[in-house]
């Protein structure tokens, strides 16, 4: 069962090209035709280079950015252009964990108030004592034990990992059904990344929360995502079960990402595919397939025709003309 459904979503940011003669309005194609679903209780990893539109996608799902076109359904209800009370209700069910735990907590608030804030905003939790009880519970669920020793501290007295746990606790008090985790560990010390990942995996197990896990690093998701979506320049180019994507990648971009991933067993090491050139800027997208200027298996028609989103194997979708053709598969 799908909990969030996204259809052909687009988000353009207007920018102005500073030209000497005229002001020409241009658009950053942050999200450019994204279609996918997040299923009940699954961990879907969204992988892509920085700047490909992952954060914008998460913000748009929560209504923090307004979609330019396309549709978002939450539990079957369209929420794309939600406002006011609907939006507030949505933000009770979908919670977000941000990339930067150093910036996402108000430095003037105590931990207890930070975690109680969502309850206050939604008028939940009853009396002050009852609310505190829920705060303590959420802190302990997020792995901050004993919670009592954190309640009266300020964010700057905590480490990065502890702060990220506070953010997670703040999301948990509302008992959400969906968690959007936007690179939650990329700014943390390598040594504590695994702890936070384990925490998220536990939450999925114990509470059945659906998690959209955003990362620029395929390595961090390999062992805990159910499915992987690979994003390139504002579009999902490949989507499938984790094992499928890792073992039988179809899109040349996914193959390139996998080939540079460190592999524990050197016998399994693939030949490294180093992509040519830079990621094109999302203002002037390449014609045809957006990946064609850097594609190692590019064909003439790739520059003309945008590949359609097709099911290449059962439950495995890809947007590539050449994927699955005999001469490209090893």
């Amino acid at each position: 069962m799908s909990i969030i459904q996204v259809q052909n979503l687009r988000k353009l940011f207007p920018t102005q090209k500073a030209s000497l003669w005229q002001k020409e309005e241009q658009f950053v194609h942050a999200i450019d035709g994204v279609t996918f679903e997040l299923r009940q209780g699954e961990v879907l990893a969204l992988v892509g280079e920085s700047g490909c539109g992952k954060s914008t996608l998460a913000l748009t799902l929560m209504g923090l950015e307004r979609a330019t076109s396309g549709h978002i359904f939450f539990k079957g209800q369209e929420v794309t252009q939600g406002r006011g009370r609907d939006l507030k209700q949505l933000r009770r069910q979908i919670q977000m964990v941000f990339q930067d735990p150093y910036e996402s907590l108000n430095p003037t608030m105590r931990i207890a108030d930070i975690v109680a804030e969502p309850l206050m905003v939604h008028g939940l939790g009853g009396s002050k004592a009852a609310r505190m009880e829920r705060v303590v519970q959420a802190l302990e669920d997020a792995g901050l034990k004993p919670a009592g020793s954190f309640l009266h501290r300020y964010p700057h007295e905590l480490s990065g990992g502890q702060r990220q746990r506070v953010v997670i606790a703040g999301a948990l008090v509302l008992e959400p059904t969906v968690l959007l985790a936007d690179e939650p560990v990329s700014m943390l010390d390598v040594s504590i990344r695994a702890e936070i990942l384990n925490l998220l995996a536990d939450l999925r197990q114990s509470r059945g929360i659906s998690i959209l896990f955003i990362t620029h690093d395929l390595g961090t998701v390999a062992y805990f995502a159910d499915r992987i979506a690979v994003m390139y320049l504002g579009r999902i180019v490949e989507l499938g079960e984790t094992a499928q994507i890792l073992q039988r990648p179809q899109h040349p971009y996914t193959k390139a990402l996998l080939s540079v991933m460190p592999v524990p067993n050197p016998r399994l090491r693939r030949e490294r595919i180093i992509l040519q050139g830079e990621t094109p800027n999302p203002i002037q997208l390449p014609t045809g397939c957006r990946f064609h200027p850097r594609c190692p298996i590019v064909q003439p028609h790739c520059a003309q025709v945008d590949p359609e989103w097709r099911e290449i194997l059962p439950a495995h979708q890809v947007a590539c003309h050449e994927a699955g053709r005999r001469d490209n598969n090893e």
């Binding site: 009770r92 735990p101 910036e103 430095p107 003037t108 804030e117 905003v121 300020y154 700014m187 010390d189």
Partner: protein, 312 residues
């Protein structure tokens, strides 16, 4: 790769005790506070401190006019034969009352306009900042003089007029701080948990604008005190109250200069200087005390920023 770099600066102590701890070690702030407290105590206990009642009707002989300082009258007498020291002590009340209440009005107007303009942006901001710019280019003094002259120069009117003239600097300062604060990630997080604009302003914008507002208040107080003195010096004072500016006005208009009665001039002048200096010292000291704390909050975000550059 994105190892967490912890800042070397000691974490700022939090709460009032932490604030007091840093405050105590700032000489400027302590001296300024001392000067202000002295003035406030003088105003509060004026009836106990003043050797004579400046309002009492006394019989005046020719010797009493501009009488030199003596053992009975330490600061001599004025043109009406009243004790200058007593007038001076009572006069501190007006300066402080006007300074305090007028600056409250200024800070309130400036704070609201600054936060609303900075937070909501767009046309609201355009309109409010245009208005602020217009108020800014109109010179304060002529404007206050005109308004006070047109209305009755009562204590209330003077406070009101000084208050509604002096908010432009505050509005701009608060707006720019609001602009900076609202872009921070914790504001986005507040939106993500469903918080509305009023909640965000109350819990996420205001607390980070407040230190700036406190510093600004002290400086606005000194401006208001100066304004009041200027108005009374120009003869626009509440005739029923005694103020330092008014003492100066009487001294100038009633021949203290030619009589060589320097005590009538120097005394209120020094009083004004004392208050303005006290406010300025306290304000600048507070700025030094509060700013590193604000920066420390920024530092709390610093390692993340470094990590972003390394990691992304």
């Amino acid at each position: 790769m994105s190892a967490v770099i912890t800042s070397k600066a000691p974490p700022p102590a939090t709460g009032f005790l932490g604030f007091w701890h840093t405050f105590r070690r700032n000489k400027m702030a302590v001296v300024g506070l001392f000067m202000l407290v002295m003035a406030i105590l003088t105003a509060l206990f004026a009836p106990q401190l003043a050797p004579y009642d400046p309002k009492a009707i006394t019989r005046v002989t020719i010797e009493d006019i501009y009488a030199r300082p003596s053992a009975a009258h330490w600061l001599g007498k004025d043109d009406a034969g009243r004790d200058v020291l007593s007038s001076f002590i009572y006069g501190s009340r007006v300066s402080l009352i006007v300074g305090f209440f007028a600056s409250m009005i200024s800070i309130f107007i400036g704070g609201v306009i600054g936060i609303v303009a900075g937070f909501y942006g767009g046309r609201v901001e355009n309109l409010l900042m245009r208005f602020t710019d217009v108020m800014l280019v109109i010179p304060d003094l002529p404007l206050t003089v005109v308004i006070v002259a047109l209305t009755k120069p009562s204590l209330f009117n003077i406070i009101f007029v000084i208050g509604i003239v002096g908010w432009t600097g505050t509005a701009r300062l608060v707006r720019s701080q609001t602009l900076a604060v609202k872009e921070r990630k914790f504001v986005l997080r507040a939106r993500a948990i469903g918080a509305g604009n009023l909640h965000i302003i109350r819990y996420h914008i205001l607390p980070l604008v407040l230190p700036l507002l406190v510093v600004n208040t002290v400086l606005i107080i000194s401006l208001a005190i100066l304004n009041e003195s200027t108005l009374s010096f120009l003869g626009l004072s509440d005739p029923t109250t005694l103020s330092w500016g008014q003492m100066l006005n009487f001294a100038f208009t009633r021949g203290a200069m030619s009589a060589g009665a320097w005590w009538v001039l120097v005394t209120p002048g020094l009083g004004i200087v004392w208050l303005v200096l006290g406010c300025t010292l306290l304000g600048q000291g507070l700025e030094q005390v509060l700013n590193p704390r604000l920066e420390a909050h920024h530092l709390a975000a610093g390692p993340g920023m470094v990590a972003r550059r390394l990691g992304d």
